[in-house]
């Protein structure tokens, strides 16, 4: 791809604008738009081929965002809560596609809870972003299942039920990559998105993403202000692409270098006490502890050492996508056909 303009291109020769999408129609200041920006940036920096990108979503403000990035990629805005199943089909059909599913807390933690849980269990190679604002934005601000007990809605109602912690849930369900970010913390977000893309398996990214219209008031526990006050970084992440200079000066105990299957690395530096993101049990512990303290823990919370992704587990061919299978691939030969029927005689 030749660049006649002066616009910067990435290693694959794509321009930043190749990763842009349509103008957002979300509210000004909506957290979701910040996430979109980081997704664009990550894909650009990683040099993902835009036409291989498949963007899926359910229904909600969050689920609209796939239209706002990588316009050269293919999108499906499915029905409410069913992003995971659409994504599963697309990726199994064509393993070459680079799939990212965007969902909301209503979309994934309420109506889509079943698909969320089973997506995590399946470990399809995909990025699964939950843009988590504690409310149903698009239907005007009802509480979602990630709203904390006692949180007050804009209209003053108090939430009677405790919140569902999607990270703890994903880890419990055997998730292989579980992280939490904050829409308004671009540095962390960018590393997280890149690592999510590089991870082979389902990368679950629970991003606290304030709804400035319906959940940004004082008594909210998901307002920009509240999250900024309570955001605790579990670790700092450095993402090193395969072509980038590896970090070599890691002193033992200071950081952990996690190599990913595609040749990239994540360098994880614990912020507080030492923490090994390979330790499932420690992960559940820090989540539970931060929960008790009322903190919002962000960072890479858990990454499995090695788990087969779903295409591998299901033995989908790796040389050609199923979409290309033709008559010869699909039909048994004439003799086998006749033998098969003879067997029913």
């Amino acid at each position: 791809m030749s660049t006649t303009t002066t616009e910067k291109t990435n290693r694959q020769g794509f321009k930043w604008s190749d990763y842009q999408g349509l103008p957002s129609t979300l509210c000004k200041g909506c957290g979701h738009d910040n996430i979109t920006r980081n997704i664009i940036q990550a894909y650009f920096e990683l040099g993902v081929v835009p036409s291989n990108v498949v963007k899926t979503s359910g229904i909600g403000c969050s689920s609209k965002t796939p239209a706002y990035f990588v316009h050269r990629g293919y999108g499906v805005n499915a029905v409410h809560g069913r992003m995971p199943s659409i994504t599963l089909g697309a990726k199994l059909a064509n393993y070459k596609l680079e799939v990212i599913g965007v969902s909301g807390d209503g979309d994934s933690a309420s109506i889509g809870m079943g698909q969320f849980c089973h997506a995590i269990r399946r470990n399809l190679d995909m990025v699964y972003v939950v843009e988590n604002n504690g409310v149903y934005g698009l239907t005007k601000g009802q509480f979602s299942a990630t709203a904390e007990r006692g949180a007050k809605s804009k209209t003053g109602e108090e939430n009677a039920l405790s919140d569902i912690d999607l990270c703890a849930l994903a880890i419990t369900l055997g998730g292989t990559f579980v992280a939490r970010g904050f829409s308004n913390d671009p540095k962390q977000m960018l590393s997280l998105v890149k690592a999510s893309v590089a991870h082979k398996g389902t990368s679950m990214l629970d991003v606290i993403s304030p709804c400035v219209t319906f959940n940004n008031h004082e008594a909210s526990t998901k307002s920009i202000h509240y999250v900024m006050e309570h955001d605790i970084h579990l670790n700092d992440l450095g993402f090193v692409a395969p072509w980038e200079q590896p970090v070599t000066d890691i002193k033992p105990g200071e950081a952990i270098d996690i190599p990913l299957p595609d040749g990239s690395h994540i360098v994880v530096r614990a912020v507080g006490k030492a923490f090994d993101p390979h330790d499932k049990f420690a992960a559940l512990q820090v989540l539970e502890e931060s929960r008790r303290k009322g903190e919002i823990l962000t960072g890479l919370i858990y990454i499995a050492e090695k788990e087969p992704d779903f295409n591998t587990a299901t033995k989908v061919p790796t040389d050609r996508p199923l979409t290309t299978m033709n008559e010869a691939d699909c039909r048994m030969p004439r003799e086998a056909f006749e033998k098969t029927f003879a067997g029913f005689r």
């Binding site: 089909g89 059909a93 089973h118 699909c330």
Partner: protein
């Protein structure tokens, strides 16, 4: 009926009439007792003697211990529907014994395990031909544990029946061998038990019934197969590569057969399989996955039954509106709700046609027999991709899970019709010609747009698919005119598809003023029913529908050329009749319609049809 004096003991006078190759056998047993292989051998043997048969399993919605009836219909004319009247009962189940005997028609045979079931009910009737067989005693010499014996006992009645009916021993022995394949030990004990029954009958039972079977040559190269199995083969040959499913009776065996065939016939050298199946967490996930795969460009399908379709409704509407190919096998069972999960019905016809909220019209195929299960399974993928929409293939429990004779299909050599898919080169050409492609643009005037598949790198190819309002270029819109135009185009697309669906099959005789319309498994009773009607002096023509949206020209012509037209179906509400009434516009036609509806969960029998028509004709 039976005169009082015969109440003590079944009559013993020898029958002099002989009825060859025409009887209906029922084995009344208990599920989970392993009668299945014996019964399959029983049926297979008759079939291999070249006699037309069909075999049906009437089983309960549980796993073990409840009544099950296996019926074999032997009929030289090739009538394969369930027969209302039973000729030959094998009683093995104490729980149903009295009722089973009571249900028999006078003069019928009853054979039973006399070690377990009392003779009294048989004697009470006095009009039956009784063949008590001490099956447990006969099993005594057999070396096997109690559990195995429970299964082997079934081979005893196969032997006794074979002897009495004249089933060729060699044929049965071969069927036993084929059934147990390499398991030599199993073959041996089964043969032993078979012989025990055979010999007992030979030595101890005097044949007093009129029924005989004799070798025929009616079956040619035919196979004996379940509709689900042959549909699975159709799907395999039709190029299904992705299946997302959730188990539900009576559809599970379709998916399971397909998976087994794929594991055999789609394996690459490196162990990968040119096929993927996911047993999903539910039906919403199944259809979502199938739509995802269809969207990405794979031939994808799901299998389910009524409750699954209800759950898929939202997604099916999405498939219609976003225009995504998908194949949905609905193996119908009795509704509403959970209904009778192991019984048959044609109860989802209306729902399939109009599934989901808003204005939708779906393409629905109704195979009328096993051959069409294969064909329609196969072409459903062509139709789905050609018209970029969900396609239903409607089987039912009777068609799907029972054994049918079928002509083996010709090896398919035609190319897959993959519909309007644009390559990068074609996109270049469009661009060069100064035109602009639009995902939902009616470029050809047939309502069917072109699509590009995800991954297509052409700069004009990418688009965004959504279930919300969109214009010709797949851009989000709430514009009223854009919405209306798109809906009109979708309707046009359906009209284009209507013309491409399998045409109805007309069977006519000169001078018939009465027409019959039927579809799906009801077809299997139709020849017999029409023959019965001829016996009663009623000539009928028969239009078999094979798909909806309906073939309006053929349908209206049929209505025009008959005085009264009976729509025969296996549901209460006349669902196909409703579809017909909804669409027929020519004045004076719908008033010719009458319904014959059968809805008990049992497969429809010919007599219910011919009686249903005769009763109404009397009133007409």
């Amino acid at each position: 009926m039976n005169p009082p004096e015969t109440l003590t003991r079944p009559q013993t006078q020898k029958e002099t009439r002989v009825t060859v190759n025409d009887l209906s056998i029922e084995v009344a047993t208990v599920n989970g007792t392993g009668s299945q292989s014996a019964n399959n051998i029983f049926a297979k043997s008759l079939f291999r003697m070249g006699i037309p048969i069909s075999a049906k399993n009437l089983f309960p919605s549980n796993i073990q211990g409840l009544p099950t009836w296996f019926t074999i219909r032997v009929n030289k004319n090739g009538y394969t529907a369930r027969k209302k009247e039973l000729d030959w009962l094998v009683g093995m189940n104490a729980a149903t014994w009295e009722k089973d005997v009571a249900n028999l028609r006078p003069g019928a045979v009853v054979m039973w395990n006399s070690n377990e079931l009392p003779e009294a009910p048989v004697n009470a009737r006095g009009d039956l031909i009784a063949y008590p067989v001490p099956m447990a005693d006969l099993l005594k010499p057999v070396q096997a544990d109690a559990k195995l014996k429970k299964m082997l006992i079934n081979m005893v009645y196969v032997g006794a029946c074979a002897q009495l009916l004249g089933i060729e021993e060699a044929v049965v022995l071969q069927a036993i061998k084929d059934n147990f394949k390499s398991k030599q030990k199993a073959v041996e004990v089964n043969v032993q038990c078979f012989h025990a029954g055979m010999n007992y009958a030979k030595e101890k039972l005097e044949k007093r019934d009129p029924w005989r079977v004799e070798r025929m040559d009616a079956n040619g190269k035919k196979v004996l197969i379940e509709g689900n199995t042959i549909a699975a083969l159709g799907a395999l040959m039709g190029g299904a590569t992705v299946v997302g499913w959730y188990p539900i009776t009576p559809s599970s065996s379709l998916a399971e057969a397909l998976i087994a065939f794929a594991k055999k016939h789609r394996v690459n050298a490196d162990g990968t399989v040119r096929f993927v199946d996911v047993q999903c967490e539910d039906e919403l996930a199944s259809i979502g996955m199938v739509l995802g795969a269809g969207w990405a460009g794979a031939r994808a399908m799901t299998t389910t039954a009524g409750p699954g379709i209800s759950l898929m409704s939202e997604f099916i509407g999405f498939g219609y509106y976003a225009e995504i190919p998908a194949v949905i096998f609905d193996v119908q069972r009795v509704g509403p709700s959970t209904g009778l999960p192991t019984r048959t019905a044609q109860g989802d016809v209306r729902m399939a046609a109009w599934c989901s909220h808003g204005d939708t019209q779906h393409l629905v195929l109704h195979p009328g027999g096993p051959e069409e299960c294969f064909d329609f399974a196969r072409i459903s993928f062509d139709l789905a991709e050609q018209f970029q929409t969900p396609v239903f293939v409607m089987l039912d429990l009777d068609l799907g899970m029972n054994f049918w004779m079928a002509e083996p299909p010709a090896y398919p050599t035609d190319a897959f019709k993959r519909g309007k898919v644009l390559t990068p080169e074609q996109l270049d050409q469009i661009k060069a010609s100064g035109k602009k492609w639009g995902r939902y643009l009616d470029a050809d005037g047939d309502g069917v747009p072109w699509r590009a598949l995800p991954g297509n790198p052409h700069p004009d190819a990418a688009y965004f698919t959504r279930g919300s309002g969109h214009d010709e270029y797949a851009r989000y819109t709430e514009d009223p005119e854009a919405y209306r135009l798109n809906m009109d185009r979708l309707k046009k697309k359906t009209e284009t598809a209507r013309a491409a669906l399998p045409r109805p099959v007309l069977e006519s005789v000169p001078g018939a003023r009465i027409g019959i319309i039927a579809y799906g498994s009801t077809n299997n009773a139709m020849r017999e029913a029409r023959d019965q009607l001829v016996e009663h002096g009623l000539k009928t023509d028969y239009l078999r529908l094979r798909a909806t949206p309906l073939p309006m020209a053929e349908l209206e012509a049929f209505l025009k050329s008959h005085d009264r037209v009976y729509v025969v179906e296996q549901n209460r509400d006349g669902q196909m009749e409703t579809l017909i009434r909804a669409e027929v516009r020519t004045p004076g036609l719908t008033e010719k319609l009458r319904g014959v509806r059968y809805y008990t969960g049992y497969p429809i029998d010919a007599r219910s049809i011919s009686d249903g028509i005769r009763n109404q004709e009397r009133g007409a």
